[in-house]
């Protein structure tokens, strides 16, 4: 049953993305940037999905510390790994856009640097988990680290609002920028790219959660084999 739901969700994601890519291809080019501007339709949803993954990871980590239930730990690790893939996509698409518009692949601007630090922190979270053998200790340390790592997200979000950065200022949810309504809907609408990305992240997280269950089963089998 769970697999059927996941397959259906996966198929819905593919349909949504095909629809959105068709829609975005039909949009006119932006006046000053040209075609490369259209990368924003993927760059922004990738970032928002990564941020939502980190939020869920934060909640799951807090819940683990409170209840010591390993289901929360499994959710935290699964969704952190998925969020890391989305954040990497965001960094790479942004870098490619920067190469065309700024003429360089990377600048040590507050937004870019804080996003990179965020990626490194969550990569460190996964490395920390590999370094600790004992499950309870691993889950506790990882939960504490995940809560600490989330502190970077408000810095990433506010960097373009508080500092003068090379990264463009906010165009959504801000009085500074104006984005055409149909373009905004292509990202934030009910059938927009953001919805597709969130559904994709959900499918990936459930698959990854299944793997955590398998890992637990494998650990118990190993213990049994060792005891024999």
């Amino acid at each position: 049953m769970r697999n059927t739901i996941l397959y259906c969700l996966g198929a819905a994601v593919i349909l949504l993305l095909v629809r959105d890519i068709n829609l975005i291809a039909g949009f006119p080019e932006e006046k000053s940037q040209g075609a490369i501007f259209k990368i924003i339709f993927f760059h922004v949803p990738l970032a928002i999905t990564a941020m939502l993954c980190s939020m869920v990871s934060l909640v799951a980590s807090v819940m683990f510390l409170k209840t010591k239930n390993f289901r929360y730990d499994a959710l935290a690790v699964a969704i952190t790994e998925v969020g890391l893939a989305f954040l990497l996509g965001n960094l790479v698409t942004g870098s490619i856009w920067a190469r065309v518009i700024w003429g360089v692949w990377w600048v040590w601007d507050v937004r870019l640097t804080s996003a990179l630090v965020c990626w490194l922190l969550y990569a460190g979270y996964l490395m920390l988990r590999r370094a600790i053998e004992e499950p309870t200790q691993r889950a506790t340390f990882a939960a504490a680290f995940s809560i600490f790592a989330f502190i970077d997200w408000p810095i990433v979000y506010l960097s373009i609002r508080l500092f003068r950065t090379q990264h463009p200022g906010p165009v959504f949810l801000s009085s500074q920028g104006s984005f055409p309504h149909d373009w905004t809907m292509a990202i934030f609408g009910p059938f927009g790219v953001l919805m597709a990305m969130m559904m994709l992240a959900t499918v990936m997280t459930f698959v990854r959660l299944g793997q955590e269950d398998s890992k637990r089963e494998l650990d118990s089998l190993r213990r049994m084999a060792h005891a024999m």
Binding site: I36, I39, T93, V100, M204, G210, L218
Partner: protein, 73 residues
């Protein structure tokens, strides 16, 4: 009037300008496609990594179960 101003504007554009603009547009499209390909390659790569991990976990579980059954016999 518009026709006249457009004609005058076009008269100022050299063949080099047109070639430069075409090259800029092509470069823009090329980088847009690189960006989209990179994003999908990362996500598809991650999915493939998960598929590989799933297979190896299942194989290990099956091997251990078989080993435990052998020992029980």
């Amino acid at each position: 009037m518009t026709f006249l101003s457009n004609t005058l504007l076009l008269a100022q554009v050299s063949a080099e300008d047109v070639a430069r603009e075409i090259a800029r547009l092509q470069r823009n499209y090329a980088f847009l496609s690189y960006g989209l390909c990179a994003a999908w390659i990362i996500l598809v790569g991650y999915v493939l990594m998960m598929v590989g991990r799933e297979r190896s976990l299942k194989r290990e579980i099956a091997n251990l179960k078989a080993m435990l059954e052998e020992k029980h016999k």
